[in-house]
Amino acid sequence: MAASKGQKLSGMQKQVLSLYRGFLRAARSKPAEERRQIESIVSAEFRQNSKQVDRKNFLYIEYLLRRGKKQLDQLKSPDTIGLSSVNVSSSKKQNADT
């Protein structure tokens, strides 16, 4: 799922970008230190998947999108300050990737 280079976006790419935007927006509401941390982890995760996941692997991308949305909901909760939830699931996901 290579990050696109300027051509028209597919519906699925739009969903991915919208999710990414959602994470960055949620990060804004956290204290500065956590915000930076969240942004770097989320950015690394999206970039890694953009390189590793085959852009035609729709089922897997859909799965990642669903999981990402759940993680985003968790992150949006005012009780979530740090990234422990995202960390846990990103290590889970590394297992899923291998």
Binding site: A2, A3, S4, K5, G6, L9, Q13, K14, L17, S18, Y20, R21, L24, R25, R28, S43, F46, R47, S50
Partner: protein, 123 residues
């Protein structure tokens, strides 16, 4: 009936003054007012400068390449995720929230400048 006449007289009054004073200078004034309401807010030059500053300060961008005409992905070698980050940075700079549908379309300095310049809440 008396009330109706009173109301009509009342309505006619401002119309008369408008046409009286507005016989010559009126078109010019409305033109100026349109511009001044935009000036109170943000000038095009200011929008251009601040958009370019945001794009130049993006870590992956070579600042010497940034002009008002550059396309983020074609000219600056960015990808669609960087594009999202730049638009988010512009949101913060101008204290806006750009909906997904619009944000997806903003892929060049020009489009960003146009969108922000025409946005009534940009500050």
């Amino acid at each position: 009936m008396a009330l109706r006449a009173a109301v009509l007289r009342h309505i006619r009054l401002p119309v008369q003054t408008l046409t009286a004073t507005g016989s010559r200078p009126q078109p010019q004034w409305s033109f100026l007012r349109l511009f001044s309401s935009h000036d109170d807010h943000l000038t095009k030059e200011e929008v251009i400068d601040r958009v370019l500053d945001v794009v130049k300060s993006f870590p992956k961008v070579d600042p010497s390449k940034v002009t008002p005409d550059v396309h983020f992905q074609k000219d600056l070698g960015l990808d669609s995720l960087d594009n999202v980050e730049i638009v988010m940075a512009l949101e913060e700079e101008f204290k806006l929230e750009i909906p997904d549908k619009e944000a997806d379309k903003i892929d060049s300095c020009n489009l960003a400048i146009e969108y922000i310049y025409n946005h009534p809440m940009a500050g």
